[in-house]
Amino acid sequence: MATSVLTSVPGNIWKVLVSVGDTVSEGDVLFIMEVMKSEVNHNAPISGTVTEVNIQNDQEGVNPGTIAIVIE
């Protein structure tokens, strides 16, 4: 089953830490956003394989609720 990881805040993508094909465990940090001079970690809600990465490093002005990463 595919699970989407959505951006939780508006802001910039600072670092994307996974690529398509990577195996991740529940709780792993997938990407870090930057807003209000803070780093906002986005963690894997399930264990699985990354099948989609729709964001990139230093991407600006990303809206909250954007499907950033898909894990199967």
Binding site: N12, E34, V35, M36, P64
Partner: protein, 322 residues
């Protein structure tokens, strides 16, 4: 009482108008960035507009209630739910013992206020309950709320189903561009005519590196008068440097070529020029703007700014409750 299940990005206790009168000792006013929505939320639950409530920024908290309580949620739409069922903004609602209020990311706006009938129990610090986390004072333990905290409330004795008249609800930008009023000064004469006009004509993009201290903007380069370029050395070397001065709340600080709007938790003094100042009545729009949205500045007179403030005070009253 409620327990913090999820804290949100940075959720803090604020009161209105905050810690006013201590800027000369370095303490900013703090208080809610969108004081319009904040005051309406308090009125809905039968509180005075000044009472302390929670300010949620970008992503809201989840709170589990240990007793029945009347609350109201006003401001940006963080998709509030009680035990999974959507609940309305701009209305007094009942949350029951054992239920969880859950806020998510903002669909519109950037900041949301949760007011509680009877307010939140917290100590005054220099006359205010507002959190100023950089000095770790005010609010609850001087910082944003934390997971696992249990927070005490006053007695809930308000009615549910109270609403705000539709025409006094602040309107969020739909196209990502906000018109922000400014008044000239105090250092407008450091820009030349071209720099002055460029500032007012440009669309300025709000950087993600912005918080309750300052809002950093991206836009065109500004040009200066001789006053800025040919000055005595104690002013500093950059055209935007000036001998240290006090900053007004809402001052638009020009740091090199980056305008920074000094907002509720901003610094009281420094050595950059302040060519324009955002009046307090326009702060609510700053508080509801998201990173990468745009500001278009419109110059108004001090009298017009005072009229705007008087109008907001007038509508943030019982008259607006139905």
């Amino acid at each position: 009482m409620f327990e913090v299940i999820k804290k949100g990005l940075e959720t803090s206790l604020q009161d209105y108008p905050g810690r006013v009168g201590f800027l000369n000792q370095g303490f900013p006013p703090s208080g809610p960035m969108d004081s319009w929505s904040f005051r309406l939320a308090n009125l809905l639950v039968g509180n005075k507009v000044e009472e302390a409530a929670l300010e949620c920024q970008y992503t809201g908290p989840s709170l589990k209630f240990e007793s029945d309580h009347v609350i109201a949620i006003c401001g940006g739409d963080m998709q509030p739910k009680i035990d999974g069922t959507a609940v309305p903004l701009w209305e007094s609602i009942l949350i029951k013992k054992g239920q969880t209020l859950e806020l998510s990311f903002c669909l519109t706006g950037a900041r949301t206020y949760i007011a509680f009938s009877g307010s939140i129990q917290s100590e005054l610090w220099l006359g205010s309950k507002s959190t100023f986390h950089k000095a770790a004072v005010g609010g609850i333990d001087g910082r944003a709320i934390q997971e696992g905290q249990k927070i005490s409330l006053g007695n809930s004795n308000s009615k549910i189903g109270k609403k705000i008249k539709a025409d006094v609800i602040p309107e969020m930008s739909k196209n990502g561009v906000w018109e922000i009023e400014v008044v000239r000064g105090p250092n407008d004469d450091w820009l030349d005519n071209n720099g002055y006009q460029t500032f007012l004509d440009a669309k300025w993009k709000l950087q993600a590196r912005s918080d309750r201290t300052g809002f950093r903007l991206d836009g065109p380069l500004l040009s200066f008068n001789e006053k800025a370029t040919n000055k005595s050395p104690e002013h500093g070397y950059e055209p935007s440097n000036i001998i240290d001065q006090g900053y007004p709340i809402g001052g638009i600080n020009l740091a090199g070529q980056t305008p920074i709007i000094l907002v509720n938790d901003g610094p009281s003094m420094g050595g950059f020029i302040v060519p324009f100042t955002v009046p307090s009545a326009s702060f609510w729009k700053l508080g509801q703007a998201k990173p990468s949205e745009y500001f278009k500045f419109k110059e108004i007179s001090v009298e017009e700014a005072q009229d705007m403030r008087s109008y907001q005070t007038l509508i943030c009253s019982e008259e607006s409750i139905i």
